[in-house]
């Protein structure tokens, strides 16, 4: 099983009364709350953390894309991977990903990802989420009802731009060009692995399975909501004719490792509160613009009779986060045992670990990372040994890779 180090890059200085005084962490979150000097410190601290994860042997480093968002400060995740390319050596550089409909023309995605693949010598993984409604419809003005069509067309264009050797004409609904011919082309052939972080629609699963991509369910609420999702995904994948290779399935888990179970609350609860109460302060009227979800999905949600809102988070405490499985917390033994159960049950080959969350300090993040790398990761590596990870990047051999010149 692979362990990847995922960073959201949150702003850690939202005020204590944030969720009472302001209506949202996203879209119209006031810019006065952002101090670029603190932002400078944070970006560099976060890059240090990702580089540390590379040195400790994590299989991949993941960044993602959000806009107008105080809990995810990467409107351009490719910039972050570029910043990591030269000072990391072994970990895959994974963008999860470029929200395709937001790049005009999508040829830019094919080009930037090719550049990244070439700069790092083939360690790159390209991810294509549709993107949240907050990012796509509200921050970037995309029409909700046509977003998925635009995304699909952009995907087709990117794949063709990577693989079609001759310049080609593209006469799409959303993009037209007479000469699509990107320079450079990726090192990896036919192209870098494609990972799709997604929600839970049958349409997405079928599409992912048909393309033989890696599907990652990235939510912040642990095993309970994920297990139904992953079961449905595996059912759909089997129906489409995919094998049961666990490396085609990914999952995100908040993890908090301490020396003992008892110490975990002391070391991580403040950051957990910051994350669940401040970072996930999302007003329900922007969570899904009309047309963002298909009518079938809306009907299915209505049938569950669960209100579509994040308000339920407000009353939860540390004990709830742990009991509900949002966070797997405790001693290395506790964490490795619980994680093993979870990933085995869902057949997860690609585990995205969230070891920095909320306003967790640099020191605690590094300790969490170190404890995971030394006391948890080795105990999970044996899982799925009989399968080949077809979704890992195929990089140039180490000795053929360029090293940054010494300063």
């Amino acid at each position: 099983m692979k362990s990847h180090w995922f960073h959201l890059m949150p702003y850690k200085y939202l005020p204590d009364d944030f969720k009472d005084k302001y209506r949202s962490v996203w879209v119209d979150v006031p810019s006065e709350l952002y101090d670029p000097v603190k932002g400078h410190e944070l970006y560099n601290e976060y890059l240090d953390e990702l580089e540390y994860a590379d040195r400790l042997g994590f299989d991949g480093l993941c960044v993602n894309e959000h806009h107008s968002n105080a809990y995810g400060m990467m409107p351009s995740p490719n910039i972050m991977l570029a910043a990591l390319a030269r000072r990391t050596s072994n970990a895959a550089l994974i963008v999860l990903g470029n929200s395709l409909a937001l790049y005009n023309p999508p040829i830019r995605v094919a080009e930037e990802m090719a550049m990244l693949d070439v700069i790092c010598g083939g360690r790159f993984v390209g991810g294509f989420p549709v993107g949240t409604s907050m990012d796509t419809n509200f921050a970037y003005g995309q029409v909700p009802a046509t977003l998925r069509d635009k995304y699909r067309e952009a995907h087709d264009l990117v794949i063709k731009a990577w693989t079609e050797p001759e310049p080609f004409i593209f006469n799409g609904k959303f993009t037209q060009s007479r000469y699509v011919n990107i320079w450079p082309r990726p090192i990896q052939k036919p192209h870098p692995p494609v990972w799709i972080p997604g929600g839970g629609s049958v349409e997405t699963w079928e599409w992912v399975a048909q393309h033989d991509y890696m599907y990652a369910f990235l939510s912040y609420f642990g095993y309970e909501p994920a297990k139904a999702m992953m079961k449905s995904y595996w059912d759909v994948a089997a129906r489409v004719g995919c094998d049961e290779n666990p490396y085609r399935a990914g999952y995100l888990q908040l993890i908090a490792v301490s020396e003992t179970d008892a110490k975990a609350e002391e070391e991580y609860s403040e950051a957990a509160y910051y994350f669940y109460h401040r970072c996930l302060h999302i007003p329900s009227n922007m969570a899904a613009a009309p047309g963002y979800m298909t009518l079938n999905t809306v009907k299915a949600i209505q049938a569950l009779n669960v209100p579509f809102s994040y308000d339920f988070l407000k009353g939860l405490k540390w004990k709830d986060f742990v009991d509900k499985g949002y966070i797997i917390a405790g001693s290395p033994k506790t964490v490795r045992e619980r994680l093993r159960e979870v990933v085995k049950d869902m057949r997860i080959g690609q585990l995205m670990t969230l070891l920095q969350f909320g306003n967790l300090s640099r020191e605690q993040t590094m300790r969490n990372t170190e404890l995971y790398a030394k006391e948890v990761m080795p105990y999970l590596k044996d899982l799925w040994k009989e399968w080949d990870d077809r979704w890992a990047p195929k990089s140039l051999p180490t000795k053929e890779r360029a090293r940054a010149a010494a300063l």
Partner: protein, 257 residues
């Protein structure tokens, strides 16, 4: 009023249409909230006109919105509609999003329209008076801005209807379709075409409209040569429901002039 099934372009579009009355043809184009099936003002208009009130593609019973990419496609669809139903020289009365549509239709084919009535139409944009982002409103917020008296019996009845999950789903569908023509800002090029509207035009506004404020009435007045602006007191964005008699009278008198 009868309800008729309609098929346009060999079934590419199908819909339901309310139809009735006698007199000159009048095409009513509904707004983003949906087709207003059974609303009494249509029966009142049918006393002096032959009223055609179809559901747009993507709203109510209207199918085929996937074939419409923008407002021009939408307007041309309605010209196909008029062609196939052989409706000759109709009056067009459009409300809100339907008003934008009516103006676009007339701009594209000015000699086919008899008289035009725009009821608090969308379609123009004033930076200094931005239309609020109604797509993010829940029903309570929507009726606060759309009605003169949201706490009155009409408001209470309309809010109560939204407790019905089927109606909520229907509203979701309407808003998803409306987004194709109005998201994120309902300014989709009418300003480049509106100069072509030449027929006698009445612009009707509710004085208390907080959804599309009355200042937009002045903007439409300025944009359409020879047009007339009438403001209805005690009315917000739904004058045909809030001041039915005043609305029917204003429209009927204008069209029969």
């Amino acid at each position: 009023m009868q309800e008729l099934k309609v098929s346009i372009r060999n079934g590419k579009f199908t819909t339901s249409m309310q139809w009735g009355g006698s007199g000159e043809p009048l095409l009513f184009l509904h707004g983003a909230g949906g087709p207003m099936v059974g609303a009494p003002f249509l029966d009142e208009l049918a006393k002096h006109f032959t009223v055609y009130a179809p559901a747009h593609p993507g709203f109510g019973a209207g199918q085929g919105v996937e074939h419409l990419d923008d407002v021009v496609d939408f307007a041309l669809y309605y010209h196909d509609f008029l062609d196939e139903l052989q409706i000759d020289n109709p009056h067009i009365v459009g409300h809100s999003m339907g008003g934008m549509l009516a103006a676009e239709m007339t701009a594209l084919s000015p000699y086919r329209v008899n008289r035009l009535v725009l009821v608090c139409p969308a379609g123009l944009w004033l930076d200094e008076s931005p239309i609020p982002d109604f797509f993010t409103f829940n029903p309570q917020q929507l009726f606060q801005v759309a009605l003169h008296d949201p706490e009155g019996p009409l408001g209470q009845m309309m809010i109560k209807q939204f407790e019905n999950p089927e109606l909520m789903l229907e509203m979701y569908k309407c808003m998803a379709s409306a987004g194709k023509f109005m998201w994120p800002i309902p300014d989709k090029g009418l300003k480049r075409r509106i100069h072509r509207v030449q027929c006698p035009t009445l612009i009707l506004w509710g004085a208390s409209d907080k959804l599309i404020p009355p200042v937009y009435g002045d903007a439409f007045l300025k944009s359409i040569p020879g047009s007339r602006l009438v403001t209805l007191p005690q009315s917000g964005h739904m004058p045909m429901l809030e001041q039915q008699d005043g609305f029917v009278q204003a429209v009927t008198n204008f069209l029969l002039e």
